[in-house]
C-alpha cells in the first residue's frame, strides 16, 4: 500500500475544457478517500489522472514517493473499478479475475490459487466459468471488485462503483466495501456524486466543484463545519436552509461587515409555539417520512416569505397553514460571507 498525492494538478482537455485547476489532494497510506461533487466537477478526471488514463497538463501525481506523472497505467501498480465494470465480455469470470496476474507474468498455479481465494469470499466460486453476459448486476459488480483485489495493488481506484446497483444492493455493498477496507487496510480513492455514500464510506472526504477542491476533511467535520456555502448546500440531506442579508438583525448575533448568508440545517431547527418566537413562519407542506416529518414553511405570519425546511419529530403533526415559531440552537448556525461564499468563524 502507498499514499497518493496530487500536487498542483491541472487538466485542460483538448477542446479547451478545464476539468482540474490546481488540484492538491493528499491521500495517506491506508486511507479511504472519497472524492465527491456534482456531476461534471472533474472527479473522474482526477481519478483517471491517478490511474494514468489521462495526462495532467500541469502538476505532478505521486504514488508512494514515486513521481508517476509520466508513467502509463500499466506501470503504476493500481487497480480500478469502473462504473460500467468494464468486464472483458469474451472471457469467463475466472479469466477476468486472472487477467491482471497473467499480464504481470505470475505463474499458472499461483494464479489459479489466488483467483480461487478471491472468488470464495465474494461468492463467485459457482460462476467462475460463466461469461459476464450471464451474470446478474450484483455478480458483475463483485467480479469487478474481485478483479481489483486479486493483485495487491498500491492503490484501489473506484469510479462510482455502486451507481448501477439497486438501492438495497447498494447499501449492502457499501457495508461490504467498508469491511473490505478495514480488512485490507488498503489505500482507496473513491469517486461518487452521492454525498450520503461519501459520508458513510470515507475516512476523509474531498468535496470538489468545477475542478477545484472546496474542502477536505473527515466526514463529520465536513458536515458540521462546511467551509463554504457550496459544501454546506451539497453535504447533508435534506439540504441546508440559507437566509440572506437582513436576517442577521433578527437573530442579533455579532454584527457582520457586508452581506452574510446564514445556513441552518433542517435538523437544527425546532418548531415552537408562535408566541415569543425568534422567527415566525406559516406551514406550507408536511411530508411524513416515517421516523420524522419534513415540514416546508414560508417565513412570516402571512406565509409570503422565503421557503424554509425543518425536520420535526412525527408527533405532533403541525396543521397546514398554521403559524408556528422557529427556534435554532445558536451553536449550530453557519455563517458565510455572501460575496466569497466562505465560512465565517
Amino acid at each position: 500500500m502507498a499514499s497518493v498525492r496530487l500536487d498542483g494538478v491541472e487538466k485542460v482537455y483538448p477542446n479547451g475544457h478545464v476539468a482540474a485547476r490546481g488540484l492538491d489532494i493528499d491521500v495517506a497510506d491506508g486511507e479511504f478517500m472519497v472524492l465527491v461533487g456534482p456531476s461534471g466537477c472533474g472527479k473522474s478526471t482526477a481519478l483517471r489522472m491517478i490511474a494514468g488514463l489521462e495526462t495532467p497538463t500541469a502538476g505532478r501525481v505521486l504514488i508512494g514517493d514515486r513521481d508517476v506523472t509520466a508513467l502509463p497505467p500499466q506501470e503504476r501498480d493500481i487497480a480500478m473499478v469502473f462504473q460500467s465494470y468494464a468486464l472483458y465480455p469474451h472471457m469467463t469470470v475466472r479469466e477476468n479475475l486472472a487477467f491482471g496476474l497473467r499480464m504481470r507474468g505470475a505463474a499458472r498455479p499461483a494464479i489459479a490459487e489466488r483467483v480461487e481465494a478471491v472468488a470464495r469470499p465474494l461468492g463467485l466460486d459457482a460462476v467462475l466459468d460463466r461469461k459476464p453476459g450471464q451474470l446478474s448486476g450484483g455478480q458483475r459488480q463483485r467480479v469487478a471488485l474481485g478483479r481489483a483485489m486479486v493483485r495487491d495493488p498500491k492503490v484501489f481506484l473506484f469510479d462510482e462503483p455502486l451507481s448501477n446497483l439497486d438501492a438495497k444492493l447498494r447499501v449492502e455493498t457499501r457495508a461490504e466495501l467498508a469491511r473490505l477496507h478495514r480488512r485490507l487496510r488498503a489505500t482507496i480513492v473513491y469517486v461518487t456524486h452521492d454525498q450520503e455514500e461519501a459520508l458513510t464510506l470515507g475516512s476523509r472526504v474531498t468535496v470538489m466543484r468545477d475542478g477545484v477542491v472546496e474542502q477536505v476533511g473527515p466526514p463529520m467535520e465536513v458536515y458540521r463545519r462546511p467551509a463554504s456555502v457550496f459544501v454546506a448546500g451539497f453535504v447533508g440531506s435534506p439540504a441546508m436552509n440559507f437566509l440572506q442579508g437582513d436576517l442577521v438583525a433578527v437573530f442579533g448575533g455579532d454584527a457582520q461587515r457586508g452581506p452574510v448568508t446564514l445556513g441552518i440545517r433542517p435538523h437544527d431547527l425546532v418548531l415552537t409555539p408562535a408566541d415569543n418566537a425568534d422567527l415566525i413562519a406559516r406551514v406550507d407542506v408536511v411530508e411524513p417520512r416515517g421516523s420524522e416529518l419534513l415540514v416546508h414553511l414560508r417565513l412570516g405570519a402571512d406565509g409570503q416569505g422565503q421557503e424554509i425546511r425543518v425536520v420535526a419529530p412525527p408527533e405532533p403533526m403541525p396543521p397546514v397553514d398554521s403559524v408556528v415559531g422557529l427556534h435554532a440552537d445558536r451553536q449550530r448556525l453557519h455563517w458565510f460571507d455572501t460575496t466569497t461564499g466562505k465560512r465565517i468563524e
Binding site: T55, T69, A70, L71, P72
Partner: protein, 307 residues
C-alpha cells in the same frame, strides 16, 4: 527537476502519438501512393501534349490548352449533359421512391429479414451484371419487358429500346434505380428508426395530422439521413461508367455517353493521355466541388437538428 518531469510527462503523450503514427503510417502511405500521388500526376499530365499513338511528339508542356480544348469540345459538353441528366433523373427517383418505401416499411412489424435480403442482393451484385440483366430484359422483340407491355396492352408494337436515342435512357435509368433504390430505402429506414416514437405520440396528442407529423417531426429529424443518401447517390451517379459501358456502350452513337466513359475512351482508345487527363481533372473537380458543397450543407443540417 521539474523541467525533467515536464519532459517526461510530455513523453507519455508523445509515446501514444508515436504509436498512433506507427499504426497509421502504412495505410496513410498506401493512400498517398495510390491516390494522392496519381492525382497530382493527372494534373501534371493534363498540362502536357501527350499522345501515346504519336510517341515521337514527346511530351511537351502546353499549359491550359487541353482545358481550352475541353471547353470547345462539343462531345465533352454533351457528355457532361448526359451525366447531369442521368444524375438528376436517378437521384430524384431513387430518393423519392426510397423515402416512400422507407416510410411504409417503418410501419411494418414483420419481414425485416426479407427486406434486408431484397435490399442487399441488388446492391451486392456487380453493376456489370445488373446492366446485362436489364439489357436482356429490354432486348429485342423477345425481351420480357416488351412481351409484358404488349400483353398488358400498354403498347401495340414493341419498341426497340437501344436504337432510339430518346428511349434508350429508360432502361439505363431503370437499371440504376433497381440496383440502388433499396439501398437508399435502407439508409432512410435506419434514420427513421432512430426517431423517438414518443415524439409522434406527443405530436398526436397535440392534434397534429399525419401530414403535419411528417412535415414537422419526420422530415426535420430525417434530414441528416436524407442528405447522406443524397451525397452518396449524387457522387455515385456522377461517376457512372460500368452501367453505360456495358448496357449501351454510350450508344446509339454517343447519345448516352457520360463524362467518365468519354474520358475513358479518350485515354485508352484514342490514347490521348494529355487531353484525357484534363478531362479527368475536370471530373474530379466537379465531384469534389459537389462533395464539399454537400458537406457544408450537411454540416449545417446537422447542427440545425441538434440545436
Amino acid at each position: 527537476m521539474p523541467g525533467g518531469e515536464r519532459r517526461r510527462a510530455a513523453s507519455a503523450e508523445a509515446r501514444e502519438a508515436r504509436l498512433a503514427w506507427c499504426l497509421a503510417a502504412p495505410a496513410i502511405a498506401t493512400i498517398l501512393l495510390v491516390a494522392l500521388f496519381p492525382l497530382g500526376w493527372t494534373v501534371w499530365e493534363s498540362m502536357h501534349l501527350h499522345d501515346l499513338r504519336m510517341p515521337w511528339l514527346g511530351r511537351s508542356f502546353i499549359g491550359a490548352d487541353n482545358y481550352v480544348e475541353a471547353v470547345r469540345d462539343a462531345r465533352f459538353r454533351q457528355a457532361l449533359g448526359h451525366t447531369l441528366l442521368f444524375t438528376v433523373a436517378t437521384v430524384t427517383i431513387e430518393l423519392g421512391l426510397g423515402c416512400t418505401l422507407a416510410l411504409a416499411m417503418n410501419r411494418a412489424f414483420r419481414g425485416r429479414a426479407l427486406v434486408r435480403a431484397a435490399v442487399l442482393v441488388p446492391w451486392a451484385i456487380p453493376t456489370v451484371v445488373s446492366a446485362l440483366l436489364w439489357r436482356f430484359i429490354f432486348e429485342g422483340r423477345a425481351g420480357i419487358a416488351n412481351a409484358l407491355m404488349v400483353d398488358v396492352g400498354l403498347v401495340r408494337e414493341a419498341p426497340v429500346w437501344f436504337i432510339r436515342s430518346g428511349l434508350v435512357w429508360i432502361p439505363v435509368v431503370l437499371a440504376d434505380v433497381w440496383k440502388t433504390t433499396p439501398f437508399v430505402a435502407l439508409l432512410l429506414l435506419a434514420g427513421l428508426q432512430n426517431i423517438d416514437a414518443s415524439l409522434y405520440e406527443a405530436a398526436r396528442i397535440d392534434g397534429a395530422s399525419a401530414w403535419r407529423q411528417f412535415r414537422h417531426v419526420t422530415l426535420p429529424l430525417l434530414r441528416p439521413a436524407i442528405l447522406v443518401a443524397l451525397i452518396f447517390r449524387t457522387l455515385d451517379a456522377f461517376r457512372v461508367f460500368d452501367l453505360v459501358y456495358v448496357m449501351t456502350g454510350g450508344g446509339p452513337g454517343t447519345s448516352t455517353e457520360p463524362i467518365a466513359l468519354y474520358t475513358f475512351n479518350t485515354l485508352l482508345q484514342n490514347l490521348r493521355f494529355g487531353y484525357g487527363s484534363a478531362l479527368s481533372v475536370i471530373v474530379f473537380a466537379v465531384v469534389f466541388g459537389l462533395a464539399l458543397g454537400y458537406i457544408r450543407f450537411l454540416g449545417a443540417g446537422l447542427t440545425e437538428t441538434r440545436g
